[in-house]
């Protein structure tokens, strides 16, 4: 994987920019590198739905108020990386999802990374362990050098 490869992010990584989590600092380094134009970020447009779901779950768990989640959500939406229409990725994503028995939304991210020669960054240890053996483009958030 080239050092200057684009990076595909998912809603969890973006959410870490706005909510205080254990690895928010690492996720923010990715944001800062993107803002400084030292790397290129992108995501499938399903990120919008998944980001909203994460915010809702944080409210539901009583960790943040609905008002606070709304404010974070608004700021995050103002700084989303370029979004790729899911319809452009859907056929390849379905193949990947079926072949590897993975959720379709996850496969959309994989399909985008494969199509663009990008790194797919995940902060989820379980997902990383499942995908990394089959997909060299998958990297754990902690392992991304920025």
């Amino acid at each position: 994987m080239a050092a200057d490869s684009p990076v595909v992010v998912d809603a969890a990584t973006v959410a870490k920019w706005g909510f205080n989590e254990t690895d928010s600092a690492t996720a923010l380094r990715l944001f800062d590198a993107w803002a400084a134009q030292t790397l290129s970020l992108r995501a499938p447009d399903v990120l919008v739905a998944e980001l909203g779901s994460i915010c809702r779950r944080k409210v539901r768990a009583g960790e943040v108020t609905a008002d606070h989640a709304q404010q974070v959500h608004q700021v995050l939406h103002a700084i989303l990386p370029p979004l790729v229409p899911s319809e452009d990725l859907a056929d390849e994503a379905l193949l990947l999802a079926s072949r590897h028995d993975r959720p379709f939304a996850e496969a959309l991210h994989l399909a985008l990374a494969i199509r663009d020669g990008a790194i797919y960054v995940t902060a989820d240890e379980r997902m990383f362990r499942l995908l990394a053996p089959s997909f060299s483009c998958v990297q754990h958030l902690e392992d991304v050098a920025v």
Partner: protein, 83 residues
């Protein structure tokens, strides 16, 4: 070939601009305007990202400063049904 009226550009820079303009099939002047427009857009975007970054920093600190919330990756895993 268009005549540039901007002073101070080196021949090397002008050659590069001419090459890019040729490649894109437009005049050097038009290409130069496009380059400057793109640069301005990048600068505006960087400034916007900086402002929003500061807003996010403030919002993160407003909820129990120093205390982490649930890992969004776990929430996403649940949202997707795990597999």
């Amino acid at each position: 070939m268009a005549v540039l009226t901007i002073r101070g550009l080196s021949e090397t820079t002008l050659d590069a601009l001419r090459g890019e303009a040729d490649h894109q099939g437009r005049s050097v002047n038009r290409h130069l305007v496009s380059v400057l427009d793109e640069h301005a857009a990048v600068t505006r975007r960087a400034a916007q990202l900086g402002r929003q970054r500061r807003r996010l920093d403030a919002l993160r600190m407003r909820v129990a400063p120093g205390q982490a919330t649930t890992d969004s990756a776990s929430l996403l895993w649940s949202e997707r049904g795990g597999r």
